[in-house]
Assembly symmetry: C2
Homo-oligomer: 319 residues x 2
Amino acid sequence: MKHDSFAIGIDIGGTNTVFGLVNKHGDIMARGHVPTLGFNTPHEFLQAISQNIQTKLSNYPEAVIQGIGVGAPNGNFYTGEILNAANLPWKGVIPLATVLNDMLGMKVRVTNDANAAALGEMIYGIAKGMKDFIMVTLGTGVGSGFVSNGQLIYGHDGFAGELGHVIAVRGGRDCGCGRKGCLETYASATGIVRTAKEKLERYPKGSSSLQLYNKLTAESIFQAAEQGDKLAQDLFEFTGKILGQTLADVVAITSPEAIIFFGGLAHAGKWILHPTQQYMEVNLLSIYKNKVKLLPSALPDADVAILGASALVWQTNNH
Amino acid sequence: MKHDSFAIGIDIGGTNTVFGLVNKHGDIMARGHVPTLGFNTPHEFLQAISQNIQTKLSNYPEAVIQGIGVGAPNGNFYTGEILNAANLPWKGVIPLATVLNDMLGMKVRVTNDANAAALGEMIYGIAKGMKDFIMVTLGTGVGSGFVSNGQLIYGHDGFAGELGHVIAVRGGRDCGCGRKGCLETYASATGIVRTAKEKLERYPKGSSSLQLYNKLTAESIFQAAEQGDKLAQDLFEFTGKILGQTLADVVAITSPEAIIFFGGLAHAGKWILHPTQQYMEVNLLSIYKNKVKLLPSALPDADVAILGASALVWQTNNH
């Protein structure tokens, strides 16, 4: 790897932070991690990351590092800050880019996790060569990154792409954001469990294997669907209906070539993709019908966060 | 105007087609028009336009023409064609850019009317300097042009930006597109008249001045609202509610600096803007609150179509 160009990708998660040294092909040459919890201040936490990175880099003295990309909850591309992230132990504003730049002397780019995932797919993954697509992460919540004209849509303030908070059902379920009916209260790993609990209340005892679980998860609902449980299959049908209807509206805004899914609920494969596709098509304006591909992410699960963050270094907007 | 640079802007409408010779500041130096109806084939129609343009240009022998921009219903930026426009006398595909280029020997760019209007605002109007905004035309239908990162979002196929066909009310009013509840069935000049007719059926006789009209229009509802008619004011309140709710969802996608309104219903000024702003704010995710400006277009009505089309010449995407 003599004199080769590398990017450092850092993914800050609620419990763990991982980083990697990534080449232009998306190969992760070295990795490291630091627990996100267990530091009193963000400064101590960033110091620990920086030391860890420097230790790793000392093994590659001739590598040329082009910069650092960070994916973080509520990470803002324009300001390089994290702003009031609900899932991190520190509140308020964290001036991530400035501090890391001071500590490591490298250019630092920041964005949120879903935007980073979209860049990862565009630079290394299934969206390579696409100029217009949407990345949707179906995890605890629903995140999204919109790419148009080959660029991420950050919006004027860096906060664009909150598909999870588009209202899917007006006056619907309470959302953590304080409003009602947001897409993520239905079409996330948490959302499908809420649906399951609602439906189980009205189901006769002994009619679904899901009634045997003490703690339902999206994974257990997937397993039950695989084994032929009708209720579990209906839960995916319902979830795909809400997701597909909402995607049909979003297609009318950006007319993407593809919508790419990532995250826990996306692992349910056909159980979630088939009904989503079906209800999206039924609800699409005719000019968009049979044009939009729904695809699962092609990047390895454990790597997508690091790859996405590193992609920020190779691909930055004109701003 | 010796040796100055000009763009030709052509706006093809359902009954009339207008064109103008426009400089970089948005001054229209010469104008012309051709009736859209009254030609047997699109070829004859385009021939008439070309001859008209050539006649005008002969008065400005030293003008340097940079190209031609055309705004047309269902005009596609990528293909330069018009595809099955419901409001034009010719069906199927019209290879507009190719034919005009053959006839006039100039580079021709095509897009739909709402996208052209967005470019017009960005190059000459109130969106000058903005990189992220949405143009919304509230006319017979609802059209839109989305600008992100300083570029129009055309989508992978050139058909992005159909805000009028986002579902505002699931299972709501029948739309000309064959689906139900599209925004334009509520928040257009036609939509507010539908609302009026629905409400008037349930109103006691003699309680609104709107009951005196034989043929209601958005203009007459506006006049009645101005004169204190409570029903007319309620109609704008209801229309603004539907529009504001839907815009709140769209803001979560592209996070624009401003939403700019143009077209018949936008002339109702505060009657439509105030409730729209109010209901948008109530429905916005907190990070977007009090950030998005709602603005009326600043371009003169009679000129916006020509200016928008001509702006295509100065601003073309990277594609």
